[in-house]
């Protein structure tokens, strides 16, 4: 019984996350939001029967097309017969011929006319102008949506010019909405086209932190009037509220938004977190969010390091030590020397022969954790200089996460070889660093 309600709740949450209308309707009530501004402009063009043009700008994933769809849906409900929508995409229809053909096809579908594939560019553009005039006489507004607007601005911009020129006459009623992620999209236009394009721009920005909190509450709190049992819903909601107020959760969301703060990234994170719900308990925990974060912010080199063998790790640490000692370039022989010196000073139990080391070295090359620094193909592998392709913090984290890392590191990464604890224990997870020392003693 519990499992089924948990599954139902999960399905409800996932469905919410995949519905852009639900998500962006949170922001549609304030009069200052982009939704209301866009709606005001388009609806005033429809009611006053005048032409208009505008640009929606903003980084990818900030909801431009989602808000536009929401606005158009609402307007189609308010004014059912007065709007017809034509959608073009710069990636698909960048050629003028292609674009005009697509416009003619969509107009034909809207008005239930026959579309001929054999029509030429001239025929299609005459048809478009005639349809605009007819729609103007019938008081019907045609809304053109140009997605990836900056791609339409390449070349001679004939399509843009003919569309905007048609809008300069009294007989047509059209709204041209360009959507682009380039902030300087209107600078790309030719001066003739720019003169005919009005200067209206709406900027869509990634949400600030308190908007994100509102959004989280709106999405994750289950509705009390659904088919789920009431006490489950209240328990679920109270746990969610506790998590949202937790400082560690705020750290997780900060880490997520520090690298990418757009809506689409955030929704992906939430979807992943919802999918990690443990169906036996049926409630969301902080760990769900943490594992979702690690699936989104993956580090492929770390995964690689996790699976390295001990000898390979050893060799990388030697190379790191050589780098710390300011030795700019090193090759396999110098690494072996360093290896031997560690072995001599600390009497480690791992002592492998040269041929085995060469094999490990080649593995590292294959995995692209190291690479050759020069281009000479004549020398053998032992003499060519190499360099490490991972940074010290990545190496450090990799060592921490490697399960069978038995060696402790000496003067690793920081300039304090004197402060080392030359402790060699057969332990799991031994990390010695000067500041934070975490020993897991056996």
């Amino acid at each position: 019984m519990g499992r089924r309600t948990a599954e139902e709740a999960q399905v409800l949450l996932r469905r919410r996350l995949c519905d852009p209308n639900f998500i962006f309707s949170v922001f549609s009530d304030s009069p200052d939001s982009n939704y209301s501004k866009l709606k005001f402009i388009v609806s005033s063009s429809v009611t006053e029967a005048c032409n208009n043009s505008m640009l929606l700008l903003g980084p990818r994933g900030c909801g431009k097309i989602a808000v536009l769809d929401l606005v158009l849906e609402d307007l189609l409900k308010e004014y059912p017969e007065m709007i017809s929508v034509i959608k073009l995409n710069g990636l698909l229809h960048c050629d003028d011929n292609c674009a005009v053909k697509e416009i003619a096809r969509q107009l034909c579908i809207e008005h239930e006319l026959m579309f001929s594939k054999m029509a030429s560019y001239d025929d299609n553009s005459q048809f478009m102008i005639a349809m605009l005039r007819e729609c103007g006489l019938a008081h019907k507004t045609v809304v053109f949506i140009l997605d990836e607007f900056d791609l339409f601005a390449q070349g001679k911009q004939r399509l843009l010019y003919s569309l905007l020129d048609a809008m300069q006459s009294v007989s047509s009623q059209a709204v041209v909405i360009g959507v682009s992620c380039r902030l300087d999209a209107d600078q790309l236009l030719e001066k003739r086209v720019r003169s005919r394009f009005s200067h209206r721009k709406l900027l869509f920005l990634p949400p600030p932190k308190d908007d994100l909190q509102r959004l989280l509450k709106h999405i994750l709190l289950l509705p009390t009037d659904s088919s789920l049992p009431h006490d489950y819903v209240t328990e679920f909601n109270s746990r969610i509220s506790n998590i949202l107020a937790d400082k560690r959760f705020i750290e997780v969301t900060d880490k997520l938004s520090d690298s990418d703060s757009t809506f689409s990234n955030f929704l992906r994170f939430l979807f992943s977190a919802v999918s990690y719900i443990d169906l036996r308990s049926g409630f969301m925990t902080l760990d769900n969010f943490k594992s979702a974060l690690s699936t989104i912010q993956r580090q492929p080199k770390l995964d690689c390091l996790k699976d390295c063998s001990i000898l390979e790790l050893y060799m990388m640490v030697c190379m790191k030590r050589l780098e710390v000692k300011e030795q700019g370039s090193y090759n396999f022989n110098s690494v072996m020397k360093e290896y031997k010196s560690i072995h001599d000073s600390f009497q480690t139990s791992d002592n492998y022969s040269r041929t085995v080391c060469i094999r490990a070295f080649e593995h590292l090359l294959d995995r692209q954790l190291i690479e050759f620094a020069d281009r000479g193909h004549n020398q053998s592998i032992e003499f060519r200089s190499v360099k490490l392709l991972i940074s010290s913090s990545e190496l450090h984290q990799g060592l921490k996460s490697n399960r069978s890392c038995p060696v402790s590191y000496l003067g690793f990464g920081s300039s304090n070889s004197s402060k080392t604890n030359g402790i060699l224990k057969d332990t799991k997870y031994v990390v010695v660093e000067t500041k934070s020392v975490q020993h897991y003693e056996d």
């Binding site: 032409n51 980084p59 902030l183 005919r196 200067h199 690298s259 990418d260």
Partner: protein
């Protein structure tokens, strides 16, 4: 970017040097506007017809405050002695009642009057140019000679509008004098699918009944037609208007040449008028015509000046029975647009934007009683700043933290003189900046992802390369913009010192 004139600039400072010249210009032009004004002004000592400087008018009437009088005199040409200056500013300039913005009918009428597609009943400020074009056409028609004319000017200066007017005036002239009205063919060059199709259209118009001869090209047929004397003398002159002529420029410039050469043939009947933006199109692309001594006459439409923009806006609003804008608001708009580009479409768009500002203000405040219902200077200033603002600063401020650090490290890198670098170098600089704040840097793959996102938005420019690390990176945004945007955060301020 030109800076906006201050909102609260006193009218005294606006009434600057050229106090008398706008009045003179208005006197010279024959527009009906002036006639109306003159007839409606009651006689008073400061009548503009006397050409007295307004400064003397101020001395005549001690009641009025100096500032308002000089400004209003210069712009409005109407003075009434009885009203106090404060009321003067709020009232309309021609004593019209103030409009009611909540009345939808009035609102839509105003917006329609200011829309770009509404062609005004009278076209002002272009009388000279229209006269020259009309003279040229009439001359060609009377002498039955072919000729070519080239109209050039920035976008939004009224070229196509004037051509429409000239066409109408030619029809009137033909009816009055009994001369022949030419066939008029208007071609919009961007809509031609190939450049040589223009000849098809000319041929089709000149000989509609004849079927197209498939053996020779339309160009050759036209050349043949115009090289020999017509058997039937009833062939009419043809006026060909080619809009946006530079779309016909091909690499070998053949089409443009042939088009203009059509007018040089001995028995040609074509009067060609080309419209484009470039001033030197004729010199650069048609050098051969100079040698044949048949270069086209050039009429250039200069960009509108501030006074012209004000005249045109007022003329559009003249037809409405109520006053909508405060005169200072119109002046601010005209000044800014004239300084930027002189484009009339932009000025009209900004006026409509200011009306929308007023609408939103009225919607937000519940009581509409105390608010002045005219469009004020602050509405216009907001509309102007929206038109000329670039969204770059806002976007940089709302970027996630690591992307801001990337921009900061790019600025530091480019300060040393090089203007482009690779992603590998940028990574090193980025790691250095991160070390100074103890923020853990992200790995290079994440970094190149973020660089790609910034490149999508047009802030960086990324080159192509097989290896991710070797892709070249350049900054597309001004360094000053980045500094301005990030100045609020102390870390970036210190870092970018």
């Amino acid at each position: 970017m030109p800076s906006i004139a201050g909102n609260r600039s006193s009218p005294m400072s606006i009434a600057g040097s050229d106090v008398s010249s706008p009045q003179k210009r208005r006197l010279r032009s024959n527009s009906a506007l002036l006639d109306d004004l003159v007839s409606s002004i009651p006689s008073n000592p400061c009548s503009p017809l006397k050409n007295k400087s307004p400064r003397r008018c101020m001395a005549d009437s001690p009641n009025r405050s100096q500032a308002n009088v000089s400004f209003l005199d210069r712009v409005n040409n109407v003075t009434k002695m009885t009203k106090s200056p404060k009321k003067k500013l709020l009232d309309s300039f021609l004593d019209k009642p103030i409009w009611n913005p909540t009345d939808l009918e009035q609102l839509s009428a105003v917006k329609e009057a200011l829309h770009v597609s509404t062609s005004p009943s009278m076209i002002v400020c272009r009388e000279d140019e229209q006269k020259r074009i009309a003279e040229f056409c009439k001359q060609c028609l009377e002498q039955e000679k072919a000729g070519s004319l080239y109209i050039c000017g920035c976008p939004g200066t009224g070229k196509s509008l004037s051509m429409e007017n000239v066409k109408g005036s030619l029809a009137v002239w033909a009816k009055e004098t009994g001369g022949q009205l030419p066939e008029i063919l208007t071609i919009s060059c961007p809509s031609l699918s190939s450049t040589s199709e223009i000849f098809n259209k000319i041929l089709g118009k000149s000989q509609p009944q004849k079927k197209l001869n498939g053996r020779s090209t339309p160009l050759k047929q036209l050349q043949q037609l115009y090289s020999k004397k017509q058997q039937s003398p009833g062939m009419k002159m043809m006026l060909v208007i080619a809009d946006e002529l530079d779309y016909l420029i091909t690499k070998d410039r053949v089409v443009l040449h042939d088009l203009f050469m059509l007018t040089t043939l001995p028995f040609s009947k074509v009067i060609l008028i080309g419209i484009a933006n470039a001033i030197d199109l004729a010199d650069r692309f048609l050098p051969k015509l100079q040698s044949l001594n048949c270069k086209p006459m050039v009429v250039s439409f200069r960009a509108y000046s501030m006074e012209q923009i004000i005249i045109i806006l007022k003329q559009r609003l003249m037809a409405l029975p109520y006053a909508v804008f405060q005169p200072q608001a119109l002046e601010l708009n005209a000044r800014k647009v004239a300084a930027a580009s002189g484009d009339m479409r932009k000025a009209l768009g900004i006026c409509r934007g200011a009306i929308e500002m007023l609408e939103t203000e009225l919607r937000e405040s519940a009581c509409t009683s105390n608010l002045s219902a005219m469009v004020r200077v602050d509405h216009m200033a907001i509309a102007l700043s929206r038109a000329y603002k670039s969204p770059i600063v806002d976007t940089i401020q709302s970027l996630p933290q690591h992307q801001q650090i990337i921009l900061c490290s790019a600025v530091k890198l480019f300060r040393r003189g090089k203007k482009d670098t690779t992603i590998g170098e940028l990574n090193k600089s980025y790691i250095d900046v991160c070390k100074s704040t103890l923020i853990p840097p992200v790995g290079i793959m994440e970094l190149s992802c973020m660089c790609r996102v910034l490149g999508d938005q047009g802030i960086l420019k990324l080159g192509q390369s097989r290896d991710d690390k070797l892709r070249r990176v350049t900054l597309q945004v001004d360094e000053a913009d980045i500094l301005f945007a990030l100045q609020g955060i102390r870390f970036f301020r210190n870092c970018l010192q």
